[in-house]
Symmetry: C2
Subunit: 220 residues, 2 copies
């Protein structure tokens, strides 16, 4: 059976992307990164539940160095997470070259596991504006991965959500039976999602436009 490494944060997008990989006929190798993000524990819990629901082999990879680099509100608690709405430009939640690092490690695991695809739930238009979520970057990264691995290693990076709107992601997730109530998108570390960070705003807008109810708890 063909295999895919799925980068699975525990958020809605990566969960839907991983379910699409399964529907595409891949055996799933679920890959999670603990990188000192504010929501490390919440994400890991969500990852475990979704990986289990996919019957996936799992890799939990610790990347303690992101805190040494800092430069992002997601890993440096002295930088506040913006809660006043999505602004143009690259927000302070941007983590330098995070998806480059994640895809590089995914490539190493894919080469070891004999996987022929990497799934990543990046979204270009309806997103937070991170440069490492754009299709141009993904294409160049795929070329770099194939140039830098063994000749017999052929890895395709699959981005099934890249041109979807958030409401389409919610709809596809609901159709595929993704347990969206187990996913965690909020940038804050709390038992209830804040509802006002960029990630919560995008998620809530998606559910609203899809005409569906988000069952995770929100701070009222």
């Amino acid at each position: 059976m063909k295999r895919a490494v799925c980068i699975l944060s525990g958020g809605m997008d990566s969960a839907v992307a991983s379910y699409i990989a399964q529907k595409d006929g891949y055996e799933i190798v679920a890959l999670h990164f603990n990188y000192g993000q504010r929501t490390e524990a919440k994400e890991l819990e969500a990852f475990g539940a979704i990986a289990k629901s996919l019957d996936a082999k799992t890799y939990e990879i610790d990347l303690p160095f992101f805190k040494q680099i800092g430069a992002s509100a997601l890993v440096d608690k002295s930088i506040a997470v913006p809660v006043d709405g999505i602004k143009p430009g690259i927000p302070v939640t941007y983590v330098p070259f995070r998806n480059g690092i994640f895809l590089s490690i995914a490539a190493a695991i894919a080469e070891k596991e004999g996987a022929e695809a990497i799934y990543i739930g990046v979204v270009e238009e309806d997103s937070s504006g991170y440069p490492d979520c754009r299709e141009e970057f993904i294409q160049k990264m795929q070329e770099a991965i194939n140039a830098g691995t063994k000749p017999q290693t052929k890895i395709e990076i699959k981005t099934p959500l890249i041109h979807l709107k958030k409401e389409d992601i919610v709809r596809v997730g609901a159709q595929l039976g993704v347990p969206l109530e187990l996913t965690w998108s909020c940038y804050q570390n709390s038992d209830e999602a804040c509802g006002v960070c960029d990630s919560c705003r995008l998620r809530l807008k998606g559910f609203e436009k899809a005409g569906l109810k988000d069952k995770i708890p929100y701070r009222s």
Copy 2:
């Protein structure tokens, strides 16, 4: 003063590349990876000495996950390091996409530090045959890095050794006053270099052809 992130393992090649960066007029940010390699302690000691001689700001980055991935004699002690001479093809010391991972992390640090170059001491022809040491890979990785970072971030990957023979690297190192006696190239973890692994063979051949004496201790 313009800055460069120099990936510095503590080996001869990366030390020479870092000295070339300094000669090129860059302030050095020296970056070392502890990735569970057999020679982690020896390399870290060499890194510290060379970084000090360069008066560099340093980053020591722990990557414990390489042991989880394994698939290489350098991080999995159950796979023997070959000692019977360099063979065609990719050897078992190849670590899946190691330079892709190293360059991605270097890019994140370069973006944070405002560095405009990354120096890496890869050698293409006179090398161990790793796919992630080839110029084609480096060029594609540079494109990926510039596509996946902020628009104002412009990073050039510099590979001053890529087309050099080992004897040229020894000669350039000697001319620049690189303390080659402080570098460590052997794949084995020992007080004396083994002299028979691929890395020792390449190094010894380089000194011999350059007509210079390698002052590190070798097992006789």
